[in-house]
Every structure is written in C-alpha cells, then in structure tokens.
C-alpha cells in the first residue's frame, strides 16, 4: 500500500506492506532511528512518538494507520537547538544507557507543555507509562519538574 505521512514537518510517501509496524516504518523505511523498539508489546514505551500531537506507541500501530496523519519523533523534538526537557535530562542525569530516553521525551513533552507546576506525584504518574532499567527515575522526576517550570505557562 502507498501511504503519505508528515514526519517532523516533512512529507514522505512510501510503499509499505500492510503488516509493517509504524515503529519499523519509522526506523527502517524513513531511517529515523532515534525512535527505539524495546518490547514490541506496548509496555515499555521506548517507541513512543507523537501522532497528531498525542503520544502513541509506534509498536502497537501499523504504518498504514498513520497514513495522511502527522508524526513527530525525537529528531523533531527540539525546534531550535535543544528542548528544555533535553537540557533538563542532561543536567539532572536522567539518562544512562539512553535506549528508553526518546520514548520518555516524546511522552513527556505534552505534559511539561500543559502542566506548569506539576506535583511530584503527578510527575511520577506521567513517567509511569514508560520503563527505564538504568536510572531509578529520580533524575527524570527532577528533570520534568525543571522543564515544566521553565516552560511554565509558555
């Protein structure tokens, strides 16, 4: 099947097998390998991208389902240089191996945009849809608080 998608503001047209997962389409067909695949059963969240602005697990969708829609991946997160979340993740040591990081960032971006002063419990809830095996999450909790504050009401 032929599909057209907009990814990070660019339009792509590709021929895909109907069975192709959106995650494989992004990584293999579009060669945007910043999106990672951790479990292929929708639990770990490493493959999270934004579909029309909403975080989705790209391993639980078929590429053809994204036809005609707009995607944003880690490669399109920073509009100029560095997103406040990326900076905060660095400063708070919120990543170690980094395999889960893109999924966390794409999940959290709407949260920090919409919640200027989240409580720690709200942050932890927002993080709880993704898995990280390295950090123990503390740096991430701090980073999300910092980024939300920075973006506060903006």
């Amino acid at each position: 099947m032929r599909i057209a998608v907009e990814v990070n503001g660019e339009r792509y047209e590709r021929e895909v097998e109907p069975r192709t997962l959106l995650s494989d389409f992004i990584r293999h067909d579009l060669e945007l390998t910043g999106t990672k695949v951790g479990c292929e059963h929708g639990v770990c969240g490493a493959c999270t991208v934004q579909l029309d602005g909403e975080p989705v697990r790209s391993c639980l969708m078929l590429a053809v389902q994204a036809g005609g829609r707009s995607l944003r991946t880690i490669e399109g997160l920073a509009e100029d240089g560095e997103h406040p979340l990326q900076r905060a993740f660095h400063e708070r040591h919120a990543l170690q191996c980094g395999f889960c990081t893109a999924g966390f960032l794409m999940s959290l971006e709407p949260f920090v945009r919409e919640k200027p002063e989240p409580s720690e419990a709200q942050i932890r809830e927002a993080l709880a849809g993704n898995l990280c095996r390295c950090t123990g999450y503390r740096g991430m909790v701090e980073a999300v608080g910092q980024a939300a504050k920075e973006l506060g009401g903006g």
Binding site: G38, E75, Q96, L105, A128, C134
Partner: protein, 729 residues
Amino acid sequence: MTSEVGSPAGGRLVGRPLPRREDARVLGGHSEFLDDLHPAGLAHLAFVRSPYAHARVLSVTPPRGAPGLLAVLTARELEGRTRPLPIQSPEGSEVADEPHPLLAAGEVRYVGQPVAAVVAESRALAEDAAELVGVEYEELDPVADPHASDLELLRWRRTAGDVEGAFRSAARVAGGRYAMPRLVAAPMEARGALAYHDPAADLLTVWCSAQDTHRPLRHLGHVLGRPAEQLRVVVPDVGGAFGSKGSLAPEAAVAAIAAIDVGRPVKWAEDRAENFVAAYQGRGMEAEVELALAADGRMLAVRARILADLGAYLLPATAMPPHTAAMLMAGCYTIPAADVRVSGVRTNKVPTGPYRGAGRPEAAYFLERAVDDAARALALDPVELRRRNLIREFPHRSPLGWTYDSGDYRRCLDLALDLAGPRRAHSDEGLVGRGVAMYVERAGGSFEAARATLEPDGRVIVRSSTSPHGQGHDMTFAQIAAERLHVDPGDVVLEFGDSALVPGGTGTFASRSVAMGGSAVARAVDELGKQCVQTAARLLDAPEDEITWGEEGLAAGDGRTLALPDVAAAGPLEATARFESDLVFGSGAYAAEVEIERATGRLTVRRLTAVDDAGTIVNPLLAEGQVLGGAVQGLGECLAEEATYDDQAQPTSASFADYSLLTAAEIPPIAAEFVESPSPLNPLGAKGIGEAGAIGTPAAVANAVSDALGGRHVDPPFTEEKLWRAIGE
C-alpha cells in the same frame, strides 16, 4: 595511597558531580545501537527455537524455498566448523563439561534454545521462513525444580578454621533457609550482533551489543577457531546490560557463521520475546545458613550450603555467581571459621549467569537474613549484634580466602542509621518493619589497559579497554585524565569499543571500570604527561624539574611557555599502560522501612537508605546514579520480579506484562550517601559502585519484612499473597 592524585593547575576534577558530555548525542536521537546499524546489503537472521523444555530432536527440515530466503543453518551446517562456547571454572571448583551448543544437536534442553537459524532479506521474511522450518521432536521429561535434579554441573567446597568445634561450643546456633528467585536482567535494548566477513582480508567483523570488546573477541576466537588478528569486535551504543551481555550469545556466533556463508552482512537483533526465554538469567540460588554464636553474640563460625539452579548448560560465566556468593559468606564480620558448599544443578531452563551483583546480592541476602534471625534467637538488637562482629582492621583476610583491602564498616552503619531516622510503630492498618543489612563485595581484579596519545592539535586521545553501556565512562575517564594532565576535559577524547583501536582488557563487569579501567587511564596519562615534560624540557632547553603545567601548556622556570601542539610537533607522544591488581572490596550499609497492609498483605517500602563505600568517588552524580539504578533493581526484585516456570519448565513470565519492572510511580524516597575509604590497591583509591544498590537493597528490605512479621521469614518477591498468608500464620 591517593598521593599520586596531584593538585593540578586546572583544579581538581575528580570528585566533581559533572553532568555527562555523552548525553547530547543520545538526547538528540543520534545514538547508534546495534539495531540502528544498516550497512548496504544487510541480511537478517531469525531463530527457530525449541517450544519444549526437554526433547529429542529427530529431524530438522529447512523449507524448499521461501520469499527472500538466503540460507538455513542447523547443527549439521556448523559441524566441524565450530566449538561450543568455553566454560569458565572458578577457583577450586569442579565443573561439568556441559557447554552450550550454538544450535541444538540431537536434544533440546530448555524452551527457547536455538535449533536452527534462518537468513533472509528482511527480519520479517526471516521470521516467516523460520516458521516453515520443520522440526520433529520427541518430548522427554523436563526438570523444573532444582531440588528434583540429579545432575550436578558445579561443585565447590571450602572449609577453614575449627568449624565443628565452634558449633559444639556455641551458646546458640541460628539461621535458616533463604532463597532468591531467578531474575531477568531485562536491559531495555535486547541482545544482538551484526557480522560481516571480508573475504579478501579474511577479516570477520562483529558489531555486538556487548559489555566490552575483548570477551566477545575471545569467545568468537574459541568458537570459530579464528586467530585474534582475523577478528574485530565493535561495540556500538549499548542499551543496558547488567551482566547479561558479558558472555558472547550463542546466537551472535551463529550470525558470524551466517555472514561468512552468505557473503553479506548479517544481523541478529533479538526481540523482547526471545530475550525473556533465551538470554541468560540471574540469581536462582538458595542457601541453608547456620551461624554458631557465643552467648555474647560473637560469631564463631558460619556454615552454608548453596543450591544453584544453573539451568540446562554451562555458559562461559554460569559458574561464577554461585562461587562469588560462597566466597562472601563471611560478610563484614570477623568470623574465624567457615564451611561453605555449592551445588549447582541442571534444570531444563535457560542457563543462569551474571546479573547485576552476580552472587553478591545472594550472599548479602543469605548472611544478613541469618544475622537477623540470630539476633532474634539471642534476643539482641540486630544492629548491636552486627556491631559486635564488624571487621575493624584492614587488610582483613576472610576465612574463605579473600583479602578485604579497605573499609570503614562501622561508619557506614552509623551513617545509614542516622539517615534512616527513628523507628515507627505498627498502626491499625499496617505492620511496620525496619531492616538493616551490611554488605561487602568483590570488585576489580585482573587487568585493564589504556593508551594515551598526544595529537598534533594538542588534544589527548585516550583509548580504553573497558567500554560503557550507560555508566558514563566518557565523562568519568575524562575527569581522571584531564586532572592528571592538567588540561581541560574538553581536550581529552575517549575512545572505546573497537578491538582494532583499543588495547586488550578483561571487560566491563563486576563494578570494575573505575578501579581497573580508570587506573589504567591514570597510568597511561601519567606516563604521557612525563613524556610531555621531557619533550618540553628538551625544546625549552630547561631542566625537567623546572617544567610546570599551566593554562598555556608547559612552562619553564623563566616563564617561557610551550603549547601542547608544539610539544606534539616534536615527535609522536604516546603511552600505553596495563594496570593489574588484586580484588578490591566495596562495602556498605542499607536500611529499609516497610509497611505491610494487614488486610491485603500489600507491601510498601516507605524509605530506603543506601550508604556505600566505593573508595574514592570520581563523579558523585554518576556514582549516585549507579546506586539509585541498582537500588531500584533491588526493589523490583523485592516487589515484583521473578522468572517463573510451570512444572513442565515452560516459562510463565515471558513478557513485560508478566514480568513487571518498577515504574517511577512505585519508587520510595531513597537516601544515598557515600563513605570514601580509599583502596590502597590502585592509584585512584577506587573500589566499585555499579552493583552496590542491587546488593544492599534486597537484604535490607527482606530484614524489614521479617521484622514487620515478627520474625517470620518470607523470600522475595514479597507478593501480597505471600505476605497475607504470613500475617495469618
């Protein structure tokens, strides 16, 4: 012996909590993990795996053809060309000759064991074709329960001191039977390898999601019978390992053969389902422990029998964790006599191997639970019992034969108690418990190497034999090198993970990177620094002892300076160092406060305190990250994690839906502090921190759970059902 760490012009870098310079690439989505590599002409590998825990393989029939099919490999195709993976044998042990075959020949012994490999144009087509491979099995009886196994794969025993006399004269004998379930390391990136054979040079290059380059290199050399010069191992970004990517995966060796056969690059990128059934698991040990105690609480002797569920075969490091557990069974205490035995038995499960701690968490759990049970038997406060027996002088030779180099166990304990705060009482809704656990761990040992080169532009390139998979070697080693060379860390470039570029080493495991790899870096840059001074002295025509380092480079006594590029122009300056040392022993004290809901048995860890002595800390931010990450893995082990099998040895926890990792919403407050008693065995004074959190946490939480239950013992994971039943007893 930290005197070698000087006080450079640029100020101290060791000890500063600097964020990692390696982050930017990852945060921008530009990391390159194994499955991100797509060389031209790439073919893909998928495996046919055994659905049975034990069966005879009567026949394997490749499909006549399938879309995109390039090759099918079975044991027959490997015959005469490969050897099984080597087996490491711990000191003093007897190990069976039961290596893991690359592909099953005649028999399968666990669910998930590779039987055949299919190479095709894409991963999807390889999986399609794998489904067309016909395998005829004849089912055999599997062994799921290690107690029912009649085959020992590993035997070890050590006795020291007058154990029988101690038990005869003891005022009390206390202890129990304690078990840690099998766990899955579950790095977020599963395993994988990409191989390419260049026929002209007869060079086989294997990109491997591995902890280091030189273990896969050695294992590939052994398996394929290839000399090291015809092998190159490249380690790209690695998405976590926790011990599970130390030994070469049998599948990676098959990928290498496939690449030679099809004459194209071949990639095996393991998926999560495969990782759950076929990647080696951790723990799976239990122990009967007895302590002989004097009336005043002095520990006179320890006796322990460790039973390890090793699984179906011996992988290279399968025998190591039980041995490490056994060797640490005297813990932090001045126990004069010990009798420790290990029996590692075969079951029809995937083999075990090192997983974060690799025997250390087991030892801490076995012994520290026994110490709490002993305190109860003696009607002594468990902290007081520990105090009366703590080792206070170093070096200390344990009766089991390891020499603890350094430590300050009492200070660790005091600090942990301070941070843990006051005890709380039970409430109407919940049973509250407080647990304390000490640990000592082996780290370092063997050797690592580094090569430091002064580049024409004045930068220093340091090539290190240990390589990172998330820890932060780049920043940490840059701090070590830049401080010693008196240069900006930005002028130090670290290179890792390519056997063609880096000097050979032992590997990244056992919390050894800073103590061993970091020390090798320190020695190499010290030597390079010396060469720089000699060269500058010659160029400036000044005595060497007058040359000093400054912001401009090197300066003579009269103020004339020479920038590093000028020094570099005078000749190639390069130094290689190999650093070797005995084991170093990190230690720590952990405290946990738990509450068990009376009505449901639900466990809440209210607070965890971690005090670790890893010697000198190079980067406290990253070291704390290691402690927190390890502690959360330890908490996962307490709250949820267990690799389960049914009575036919079928895995029943083979997805993240059934084997749940903790999320951010389930983590209690964790207070983490360091005590720094430097090791005398290396120039940095460093010990190990990578595994600390995973070692101390389960023992402390288990003691807290037992305390809440009035002394009853329950093994992890502390599920609601287990705890609810224990409350009812």
